[in-house]
């Protein structure tokens, strides 16, 4: 979240789209109701289903799954053409005025630079024009035909009401109604918050859907203000923390990135990441990348990391692929290229798409290690559970270890919620039997490996033999020790520019401003620096007072970065430092420094006349309408159809097959052969979560099993009557990849849509239930889903695929 849960109460309009917080985040959703009751806010829901969030909404519009870019792109067009944008904000705080290279263009669904052979873009043309000093050229009147604003305007001019309605299947009057409600928040004293979750991420165009939402919020001037923002509700309790700590194939802690295999030189590696400002005087905070990096290497490799050996740069593994994501990994595993796999609190057999492929892949492993508090389907993928897991154990040669761990109630530590709060919790009881904390299991394995390498030698042992291990009990590093390490400490006295000591050797760091690139500081995650300073563990703080009445509760736990509760909050004030509106104020300039009800997300002494812009992590200091880099399929989001679409072509580009689906997506050949067509599987399906369950975990809880005991699917009334299905009938839902059986819930909540001249029915499939636990045994939902991901993140397209429904 750019903002936070309690801040939702400050919104005037809440757009829930790509998420269903009333059911998936029920307690957080109370702040939506609080906004409605206390702030006279209105709630708008745009969703394929009339959800429980929709049930309490002021307005609901149905939409075909996977068409959100069309809906939001049309909104951008509407806001610009009806002049409902926050002009001063757009001019001062976005890249709207920057001028793009002449070579850049977009034609028939493709941006310049596309190579159909490799499915990749050459992105040189996606850039600004620069002056002799290396700064982007600009036109502050926004009239230049190649300034970002005019290019964006032209790009979305195609997204008319008719086009949007034709793609999304949403009736025109409803689209207009939603757009008009959103347009009202262009006023500087009104904000809209956008709440989204996996309903946006789990599409082959997921990242660009979210970017479109961010563009809308920039046009309306809703970023950085109370009750504004683009808020990822996030699906798991510490998915935020694991992302922050970089537990993804290509990342290091704090969103730093591992080197690619062509980055052999340390200096170039840093220069590529330590980005200078592209607009004069901007902060461009990533310019300090080397401080974060060297401090991480000192935390990991201690005295072994020196300036002479480039801080152990050679020891970092280099990427030969953009990502080693899970789809990529299971493709390799399927071809026998992976021998061992660890699943720590993760149930891929149930959670990954195309279950048949997952089973076949796990069967090719030599060893599988499952570290979990519970029995999981993955750990028993080799076991025959009748029709629900029909395998022959004697033909599966994978050696499977199942290691019992503690659950949250049996350990100390922190998790990061979607408000970016690190909240410390305490163990209440010992774990069952011989179960151990993950830290002890990992340390046990690691120390054994170290011993084996010392005794036997082996491949490239230096990094693991030199890993800094300063823990009092080496077999079980304590949460407190690890938290102090990711906060970081000084190895030598650290001085500022005027040679004043800011932190002494051995002391904990107070913030990431104290980090140095000369090896004098160690820090495991620069973004978390400040959570455990010299004064103690701030993550345990329990002061829930709210002296400003803004809901920021700065004394409760600790939020990254630097205890800031609202990101980009400098944008809540005008360029001259006064708030856009008192009721939306977060920080302001008091004549000497930035003050307010939150920690300023800005250099506190940067006076307004210095003209530094609020988005301090960006090289332009601005919010980006134009994605010059980082997005593989283009600088502006464009609608492409899901890989399994219920219509014949992309209505925006009916004559260009290359622009039917995301042109930047990676599809493995065998997976492509497993895509179904709408002739055979005519209905659009989407998967989702229920209030009563959490994935496959709560299947093991009696209380949750009682409330939702058995697998069901939701079918609209008109389709049900067409197929002769009545409420309570058993049905089979099939995709190209397999089938599931379930009870039919016939409902008014899903309506047929008119899309591109045809009727499209959508089927709702909860992702819960498996073949273990207290609930009735069932097939896993991901038997059905396709193995293709978002072009940038490779997050699978769980939310849009094709099925057929048959009565059993």
């Amino acid at each position: 979240m750019t903002n936070h849960w309690v801040d939702i109460r400050n919104a005037d309009l809440i757009l829930a789209m790509g998420g269903n917080p009333a059911e998936a985040h029920p307690v957080g959703f109370r702040w939506v109701m609080e906004a409605k009751e206390k702030n006279d806010a209105r709630l708008v829901v745009v969703d394929p289903r009339f959800t429980r969030t929709a049930a309490v909404a002021d307005y609901f519009a149905e939409i075909r799954t996977g068409t959100d870019i069309a809906f939001l792109g049309g909104l951008i067009n509407y806001l610009i053409e009806t002049d409902q944008i926050h002009h001063d904000y757009v001019r001062a705080y976005t890249d709207a005025s920057l001028i793009v290279r002449e070579e850049f263009g977009f034609e028939d669904g493709l941006f310049t630079g596309y190579d159909a052979e490799s499915n990749e873009y050459a992105t040189e043309s996606w850039n600004y024009e620069y002056d002799d000093e290396g700064f982007a050229r600009r036109d502050d009147t926004l009239q230049h035909p190649r300034c970002v604003f005019q290019l964006m305007r032209e790009h979305y001019s195609r997204y008319t009401l008719e086009v949007v309605s034709n793609v999304c299947g949403t009736p025109r009057a409803k689209i207009e109604h939603v757009w008009a409600m959103v347009g009202e928040t262009a006023a500087s004293d009104r904000t809209m918050t956008i709440l989204y979750a996996l309903g946006w991420t789990q599409h082959s165009i997921g990242s660009q859907i979210i970017r479109t939402a961010a563009m809308v919020q920039l046009l309306l001037g809703n970023m950085g203000l109370r009750g504004g923002g683009v808020n990822a509700l996030r699906g798991h309790s510490n998915i935020q923390g694991l992302t922050d700590l970089g537990l993804l194939s290509n990342l290091l802690p704090g969103y730093m990135r591992l080197p690619k295999d062509d980055e052999q030189d340390y200096t170039n590696y840093i220069q590529e990441r330590a980005r200078p400002p592209l607009v004069p005087d901007q902060v461009s905070y990533w310019r300090y990348y080397e401080r974060f990096h060297v401090s991480l290497m000192k935390a990991w490799f201690g005295d072994a990391a020196t300036a002479e050996n480039d801080w152990c740069f050679e020891w970092l593994p280099k990427l030969s692929e953009t990502l080693y994501d899970v789809l990529h990994t299971f493709e390799r595993m399927h071809h026998g290229e992976v021998n061992g796999y660890f699943c720590q609190g993760f149930n891929p057999l149930a959670a990954f798409p195309h279950k048949a492929k997952i089973t076949a892949s796990l069967s090719r492993l030599k060893y599988l290690v499952v570290i979990d508090p519970l029995r999981t389907e993955t750990a028993e993928f080799w076991k025959n559970h009748g029709e629900y897991n029909d395998v022959d154990p004697s033909t599966i040669d994978t050696e499977v270890f199942r290691l019992p761990t503690t659950c949250f109630a049996e350990e100390n530590g922190t998790i990061v919620n979607s408000s970016r709060w690190l909240q410390w919790f305490w163990a209440a009881a010992p774990p069952p039997g011989e179960a151990r904390p993950d830290t002890a299991i990992l340390a046990g394995l690691f120390l054994r490996l170290q011993r084996l390498y010392r005794e036997e030698g082996g491949a490239f042992a230096e990094p693991l033999l030199n890993l800094h291990w300063p823990y009092r009990f080496p077999e079980e590093p304590s949460p407190a020790e690890l938290a102090r390490e990711y906060n970081g400490w000084a190895l030598e006295d650290v001085e500022d520019e005027e040679r004043r000591i800011v932190v002494r050797a051995g002391e904990q760091l107070e913030d990431f401003g104290m980090l140095r690139a000369d090896g004098s500081t160690a820090c495991g995650c620069w973004l978390f620096a400040g959570c455990w300073p010299e004064e103690g563990n701030l993550m345990t703080r329990r002061d829930n007072s709210d002296p400003y009445g803004t809901g920021q509760t700065l004394g409760w736990a600790w939020a990254w970065p630097a205890n800031r509760r609202i990101l980009y909050n400098r944008a809540s004030a005008r360029p001259d430092g006064t708030p856009w509106a008192t009721r939306k104020a977060v920080v302001w300039w008091n004549g000497q420094r930035w003050v307010g009800n939150d920690v300023p997300d800005f250099p506190t002494d940067s006076e307004p006349a210095a003209n530094q812009r609020p988005f301090i992590m960006n090289q332009t200091g601005s919010g980006q309408f134009f994605a010059r880099d980082r997005m593989v399929e283009g600088p502006f989001p464009e609608h492409y159809e899901p890989f399994e679409t219920p219509i014949a072509n992309n209505p925006l580009h009916p004559d260009n097959p290359l622009a039917k689906h995301n042109p930047g997506a990676r599809v493995f050949e065998e997976d492509r052969a497993n895509f179904g067509t709408f002739e055979e599987f005519p209905h659009a399906a989407t998967s989702y979560r229920l209030t009563e369950h959490f994935h496959y975990w709560t299947m093991h809880n009696r209380l949750n099993a009682i409330t939702q005991p058995e697998k069901f699917v939701e079918i609209g009334e008109s389709l049900a009557s067409e197929l002769g299905i009545e409420r309570g009938d058993r049905v089979r839902v099939s995709s190209k990849r397999g089938h599931i059986d379930a009870v039919a819930v016939v409902t008014k909540r899903i309506r047929p849509l008119q899309v591109a001249g045809q009727t499209v029915h959508q089927i709702g499939i909860p992702l819960h239930w498996g073949f273990l636990g207290e609930t009735k045994k069932s097939h896993l939902t991901n038997t059905l889903t396709p193995s293709v991901g978002d072009a940038n993140t490779q997050t699978p397209e769980y939310k849009s695929f094709l099925v057929r429904v048959d009565k059993l």
Binding site: H236, L245, V326, G345, F401, A409
Partner: protein
């Protein structure tokens, strides 16, 4: 951490105490044999602050357990409720959070290391030492056989791609940090968590 009594609880206890004592003054005291009133289920419990680990709202929960951590006593959690002081959840729990007790005490909790040998149809209980020794041996053999120092172009890559690791979105930052540190020191790149899906 032990919970200090809240203002609301203080008034409740005070009121209950007053009612009992005035009843006694008016001569309604029961016979000595049954004078011991039934205690509240939660009185005497140890209260521990925690957070729900399902979705990402991060609701505060209070875990009530028996036992004083002394030798020969077993602490078990027997009640879970929302933390009224928590600024987001203010004491509420959803149906998932309300079922946390059943998760902690589920019949599906694992209590001992086990192995399923290749081609067999059963779990076999083993000791921690055997489990960790065998896994470490697998890891080292695979790493030594498949570690790549240089790629075909002659560039140094120093990576190990034949063993992968999925990390847990419900684990703590401290576990996650240690996992990241170890995994990278081994040269692993096939590494993701639930954020990927």
């Amino acid at each position: 951490m032990t919970l200090k009594i809240t203002r609301r609880q203080f008034f409740k206890l005070g009121a209950a105490g007053m009612a009992t004592s005035s009843m006694a003054m008016m001569g309604f005291a029961p016979e000595p044999a049954v004078a011991s009133i039934r205690h509240f289920k939660l009185s005497g419990a140890k209260i521990t602050r925690s957070n729900c680990t399902y979705c990402s709202v991060g609701c505060g929960v209070l875990l009530y357990s028996r036992g004083d951590e002394a030798i020969n006593t077993i602490d078990n959690i027997y009640h879970v409720e929302g933390d009224p002081d928590h600024p987001v959840s203010r004491g509420s729990l959803c149906p998932k959070g309300s079922g946390l007790l059943d998760y902690v005490n589920s019949d599906s909790r694992l209590s001992h290391p086990q192995v399923r040998e290749p081609g067999t149809d059963e779990w076999k209980q083993i000791s921690w030492d055997e489990a960790l020794d065998r896994i470490a041996r697998h890891m080292k053999d695979d790493r030594d056989a498949n570690f790549v120092t240089q790629n075909d172009a002659g560039s140094t890559v120093n990576h190990w791609l034949t063993t992968g690791f999925l990390a847990a979105s419900a684990s703590t930052n401290e576990t996650a940090y240690l996992t990241q540190k170890i995994v990278r020191s081994l040269g692993m790149l096939v590494f993701d968590n639930q954020a990927r899906v």
